[in-house]
Amino acid sequence: MNPVRKQRLFVVLAVLAGLAVAVGLAVYALRQNINLFYTPQQIVNGEAPVGAKMRVGGLVEDGSVQRDPDTLDVVFTVTDGKGSFAIHYQGILPDLFREGQGVVANGTLVSRDRFEADEVLAKHDETYMPPEVQDALEKAGHPGSKPGAKEEDAGYPKGDYD
């Protein structure tokens, strides 16, 4: 390669590498702000400030949803297998809200095990399946047929959260 071009290539790649490192460091440093929500584990570990407005996310625990028969009040437990806490919410839940599925709630952490939500969003996982296929899987007793059967498949983010 001709030396002028080689130098230009070097300069462009150096600029790109430098910027990539800068952006990487910025994203890493701001990770707590860029992450949309706190996980149950973080809340149990005391990483989330009590009394502050925040978002939390996790899987709705099976059999934990309790609806008040007279009002729109609903209480359910959110877990990630390493910690859990109760979310209190008053309002209409999104269509995709169901036990075993991922949710993101916006509200206030009142105490380490109680969160009062103003808004509950359902997370959808990356699995797309027609109802007949799910029926067939359920009949065959396939573990993948049940939402939230595997933590990783239920729209719950992977990785460590320290």
Partner: protein
């Protein structure tokens, strides 16, 4: 292999050869892309089965995923063209850089709009400032910024150099878009289609999606070739071969 790539690179680097290449490829590229897109969209939007939880609203995937992937791939192509334009000062790379931007910007906008429309019934919100959505919005702004830079500077070579730098630097954002759902907690789910390993979508839904994607990518390619061809003619208007071409057309 490397020799073939090198030969192609030099041949397509010549505006005249590129023009002939477009004339040869476009007559079948346009109908093939439109046919694939029609088959994929009709299959996906009408005949594919409903989704177990989302019902019919999941069908927006047949527009959202092709548009998003097209916008991302178009940006990577712009980054490569930008690098070639900066280092080798190749005119065709500058032309490609200009030709790639408008359709890519439109696809990024379609991706954001369809995502919002799907988000409301599925998540319960049109928009959240989560990392995937925000980085996709930045991708749209990068596209618009590159187009604005190209139009703001009168000298086309200077304009191309400025736009090329932005295109190369912006490739970092593509990496963030792609991995935001794995590295960070986002509302947006992870990738459904996987290059390696089994995709987490049923085959009856996957095939129309793959066909729509192929159709839209080819349509994007056709759009880029048409734009680049026009740009080549405009830039080379004083050269002998363009004059002869125009003379033959008129005769």
């Amino acid at each position: 292999m490397w020799k073939t790539i090198k030969r192609w690179y030099h041949q397509l680097g010549s505006p005249r050869y590129f023009y002939r290449f477009c004339e040869a490829v476009l007559p079948w590229l346009v109908p093939v892309s439109l046919a694939l897109l029609a088959v994929g969209l009709i299959w996906g939007l009408v005949y594919a089965p409903v989704e177990r939880y989302q019902g019919d609203s999941y069908r927006i995937i047949y527009i959202h995923v092709p548009a998003s992937s097209g916008a991302l791939m178009g940006y990577i192509a712009m980054g490569v063209a930008g690098l070639v334009a900066l280092v080798w000062r190749m005119k065709m790379a500058e032309v490609m850089l200009k030709a790639l931007a408008p359709f890519g910007a439109a696809l990024a906008a379609v991706s954001l709009l369809t995502g919002a429309l799907w988000g409301k019934p599925t998540w319960g919100t049109y928009w959240q400032w989560d990392a995937r959505m925000t980085s996709m919005l930045i991708l749209l702004f990068l596209y618009l910024g590159i187009m604005a830079l190209q139009n703001a500077i009168r000298d086309p070579r200077q304009a191309a150099r400025a736009a090329a730098l932005l295109a190369v630097v912006g490739v970092i954002n593509v990496v963030i878009v792609k991995y935001s759902v794995e590295w960070l907690n986002t509302l947006h789910q992870g990738a459904t289609l996987k290059v390696v390993g089994e995709s987490s979508i049923d085959a009856s839904m996957k095939w129309p999606l793959l066909i729509s994607m192929a159709g839209l990518w080819l349509l994007y390619a056709a759009n880029v070739l048409i734009r680049a061809r026009t740009e080549v003619l405009s830039r080379e208007r004083r050269s002998g071969w363009v004059r002869r071409l125009v003379r033959d057309e008129e005769a």
